[in-house]
Assembly symmetry: C2
Homo-oligomer: 219 residues x 2
Amino acid sequence: MPTSTVENYLKAILVHSSDKDAVVATGTLAEALGVTPGTITTMVKSMAARGLLEHQPREGVRLTAEGRAVALAVVRKHRLIETFLVQVLKMDWKEVHEEAEALEHALSDRVLLRIDAILGHPTSDPHGDPIPSPKAPALDRGKGATLATCEVQRPLRVERILDQSPPFLEFIQRTGLKPGARVRVRERDHTSGIVRCELKEGEATLGLPEAAKIDVRPL
Amino acid sequence: MPTSTVENYLKAILVHSSDKDAVVATGTLAEALGVTPGTITTMVKSMAARGLLEHQPREGVRLTAEGRAVALAVVRKHRLIETFLVQVLKMDWKEVHEEAEALEHALSDRVLLRIDAILGHPTSDPHGDPIPSPKAPALDRGKGATLATCEVQRPLRVERILDQSPPFLEFIQRTGLKPGARVRVRERDHTSGIVRCELKEGEATLGLPEAAKIDVRPL
DNA sequence: ATTTTGTCTTTGATTAATCAAATACTCGTT
DNA sequence: AACGAGTATTTGATTAATCAAAGACAAAAT
Ligand SMILES: [Mn+2]
Ligand SMILES: [Mn+2]
Ligand SMILES: [Mn+2]
Ligand SMILES: [Mn+2]
């Protein structure tokens, strides 16, 4: 069985491979995992030997089918845990990511089945991130619109929050721009870099880079 | 922060120190933790250096106040988790020990607080083991009667199951001798080594060593 | 007072994960 | 073609946890 370190490495590779079989640079992983580049090279070589990924020296890494399956299972566990912590234990959505980061390596599949059933087999977590199914279909990396790119004046629904740092989530909560909320972009000004939105609760104004962190869907 | 290995060592020492400041032999720990004696000696020396316990070479170990506090916190976490898994997630009490063994090292105090609140601050776990309070008072190691020592014919209540191996728990469940159940010893025969009990569900017969694994209280 | 036995401790290795610092590539620029 | 900048890999250590096998000790048996 993979150690929790290996599980974290696999997850990081998965979420950093934008598309199908894009290679991820070892430097990207060093950054994402907070370790030195040399550590990544060493770990990656041993994971390649175990068949979890392929390593093109000086190029990057790509998950094998087995590595991807493990990574998807970990992501699924992580997101179901987050959902459970928020919906059942009534925890703050700003703190659940950290908790899930540890619990995803300790929770058995048996417990996960119970949690999934109690939650009614949810398909997205509190941040709007999709929960991969147990049969492990692809992880759809937001190919839709964001508040920075969507049509102005069109009625929309917030789909997903891409930046999950506590301060950003705090802002989202304050303005009401949470997943599921109805919203309409009133004005987008590329000169001032400002996006003004209208929600049921009132108005929210944010910068373009921030608006790009909020996935939306027309309707 | 202690690693999960250190937490497991501390817990093992705690549950094996029958009384206050009894020393625990390193061999006992090797047996309990499933590692070689040499490993225990090495670990114990490093834990002593960290102030978690005292080591009398060739004698045994004794927890310091700090070591005991950590151990009690881990035991509390373990038992609250077991209770939660049974009561909220509706899991089988035969499998929760194993789950808790891993989760006790990953669950934060924040989550534990929520679990404790949702359960209504329980004082014993599904096996009848007491849940140490957060202020960490002593862990009362069953000083009461068992089905092997109690008065015959007296109405009793099952308090606690001391053997938590799945097969024994399976037997307990089948006979209905679970914590909380009312029971009365009909006959105890030291020649045949048999104890016959009467419960609401009918009768249960078990051997003396097995009867000694079931704590009871008059009433 | 020896010897034996059973328990502990030491010693020397191993595996996983990590770092710092030295070294080696690869590209894009002179 | 040579150089320099930016990455990536190697190398040599370190820490935690573990084992096997050798050695030390203390209590019990002779
Ligand atoms: Mn993690
Ligand atoms: Mn999430
Ligand atoms: Mn444990
Ligand atoms: Mn228990």
